[in-house]
């Protein structure tokens, strides 16, 4: 099957900074793909090259087989991009903005589809409003609408929920999920790891211009993360178990990492054998943030409070 996006040995340098160090990556049609990494890892550079906003020093990118440089007209028609910055043209209304964007893609009468997008994004009431008068969240939704005017099969969203409130974020994701179910390939960069965990079926993690992990979300979680267990026992006696790593021990209080649920069962079994009673028990499920931290050696780029 032809990849939705085929990234082949893409390298990009800005002066002394190697922004991308020869990245190769295939994104399958219909996928919901996550691109994660700390600030400066090269996510936005990669997206810019995919979108034709920057030129790679080496390598090539194809959208559904169309090279973004040599066959840019076809490539750009196949691609919708939601930029990270909250940009708008202050001269025009929401509907005008969308009509212009349609026109740039050579679509003359696009109002039926524009109305449909506006409705899905809960913007119908704001169609005639000047862009300047919109709130940040609404401007963000207009950006999404602009990326969709030409019904692109491949949609790239660069940090689409940065600075967007919780309710709106949920609505936005519902809409993106629906697009994905309708067959659109979605590529997403985000700082919110829970979002990637919930939405993306496959994830690439970038660090310093290299891909440090590329796998299904489930495998990544299983491979790099584990269960975190906090225990208080009735005495300071913890049996050894190959599936259990002690992260912290303070008298009868223990913080443990379990390899998997089987390790939990085995631990409980041993405790029972020893006749040790559990006083407190707190189990945290696998967490993409753990994976992220271990792979990149960085705190997640978002210092924002997690909601």
């Amino acid at each position: 099957m032809m990849p939705a996006i085929e990234i082949c040995n893409v390298a990009k340098r800005y002066g002394a900074l190697q922004a991308l160090a020869g990245i190769s990556l295939d994104i399958t049609p219909g996928e919901f793909f996550g691109l994660l990494g700390p600030n400066g890892a090269g996510k936005t550079t990669l997206i810019s090259i995919i979108a034709g906003l920057a030129r790679a020093d080496a390598g090539s990118v194809r959208i559904m087989g169309a090279d973004v440089v040599t066959d840019y007209r076809r490539a750009r028609r196949l691609l919708g991009v939601v930029p990270q910055e909250l940009v708008f043209d202050p001269f025009f209304s929401v509907r005008e903005t969308l009509r212009f964007q349609s026109g740039y893609f050579g679509l003359r009468r696009n109002d039926d589809w524009i109305d449909e997008i506006l409705q899905h994004l809960d913007l119908s009431a704001k169609a005639g409003t000047n862009m300047r008068a919109l709130s940040g969240g609404m401007k963000r939704r207009v950006l999404v609408a602009q990326a969709l005017v030409h019904k692109p099969p491949v949609i790239v969203l660069d940090e689409p929920t940065a600075g967007v409130d919780v309710e709106l974020r949920q609505g936005l994701w519902q809409f993106i999920r629906r697009l994905n179910r309708a067959g659109h390939t979605i590529v997403l960069t985000t700082h919110y790891l829970e979002e990637a965990e919930q939405l993306c079926s496959r994830i690439a993690m970038l660090k310093a211009g290299c891909i440090v992990a590329l796998d299904s979300t489930r495998n990544l979680l299983a491979r790099f993360s584990g269960l975190q267990l906090k225990l208080r026992l009735d005495r300071a006696a913890l049996p050894e178990d190959p599936g259990v790593t002690v992260l912290a021990a303070d008298g009868e209080r223990f913080t443990l990492r379990l390899r998997d649920y089987a390790a939990l069962e085995s631990l409980l079994h041993r405790l029972r054998e020893l006749g040790v009673q559990i006083q407190e028990f707190e189990l945290a499920p696998p967490d993409l943030e753990e994976v992220f931290l271990r792979l990149t050696g960085n705190a997640p780029a978002a210092a924002e409070p997690r909601t």
């Binding site: 034709g52 920057a54 030129r55 076809r74 940009v87 043209d89 026109g103």
Partner: protein, 251 residues
């Protein structure tokens, strides 16, 4: 409709929406020049025996308005789009660099010509102006506005800040227009300054445009047209090369 047609329409709408600022204001400026300079210098300066100084001045002011507004249109539109970041909406669609250039160029020419016609229209009742060779006037107005539109594209791509653009306007465009013979015939200048004026491409635009009204000029109109045409080719080529390379637009 192609992306080019929509971009041209957008660029036209952009200045027309704020016509008070982009058309009415420069018309008023030109009228002030006409009234103040015309009144004070009338009778003191006589360039042509058969025409008043105001009549001599008016085509120069019209052309000056055409040139300045053509430059202002593409340069300010581009720098605004770059600074606000919305230029991305033009870089994502399948618009070629040639279409991009043509849309900005034609919108600049339109604004320059609209302002020029408005200056001419408003002044006609005040000043008796002959019209000896209108096609020459039209040719120079079209080419002059195109040259400044292309310069505006170059300046708009190059500048990162509004003050860089203002510097370009104040230190390049303004001196070249003022020293081009808008207000005087270069024959009234000392020999050295006359020679220097011949290096100023704006001189040929003004002089050739004036030929369209009086049927006479400092320099042969066909030769002026050749200079102006060559300037247009060079500047357009420069603008197109910049756009094709993605300079400052496609990192």
């Amino acid at each position: 409709m192609s992306g080019f047609a929509m971009l041209l329409y957008k660029e036209l709408l952009r200045f027309w929406r704020v016509a008070f600022q982009t058309v009415a204001a420069p018309v008023l400026t030109a009228l002030l020049y006409l009234v103040v300079f015309g009144q004070t210098l009338e009778g003191r300066v006589r360039v042509y025996d058969e025409a008043s100084y105001s009549a001599f001045l008016l085509p120069g002011l019209v052309m000056m308005s055409v040139l300045q507004n053509a430059f202002a249109n593409s340069s300010s539109s581009l720098i605004q789009s770059k600074i606000t970041g919305n230029v991305i909406f033009l870089l994502l669609p399948p618009i070629s660099y040639l279409e991009f250039f043509a849309a900005y160029l034609l919108a600049s020419m339109a604004r320059g010509l609209v302002v020029g016609l408005a200056v001419l229209g408003v002044s006609t009742p005040l000043v008796a102006l002959p019209l000896a060779a209108p096609l020459w006037a039209l040719a120079f107005a079209l080419l002059g506005s195109a040259i400044l539109g292309a310069m505006g594209v170059i300046a708009g791509i190059w500048a990162d800040k509004f003050d860089q653009l203002a510097a370009f306007q104040n230190f390049v465009i303004m001196p070249l227009t003022f020293l081009s013979g808008v207000f005087y015939s270069i024959h009234s200048l000392p020999a050295f300054w006359q020679e220097l004026s011949h290096l100023n491409p704006f001189f040929y635009m003004i002089d050739g445009f004036r030929y369209g009204f009086f049927g006479r000029s400092d320099f042969a109109p066909a030769a002026s047209l050749a200079v102006v045409g060559a300037s247009f080719v060079v500047l357009s080529a420069a603008a197109l090369l910049l756009l094709r390379s993605g300079y400052k637009l496609r990192g």
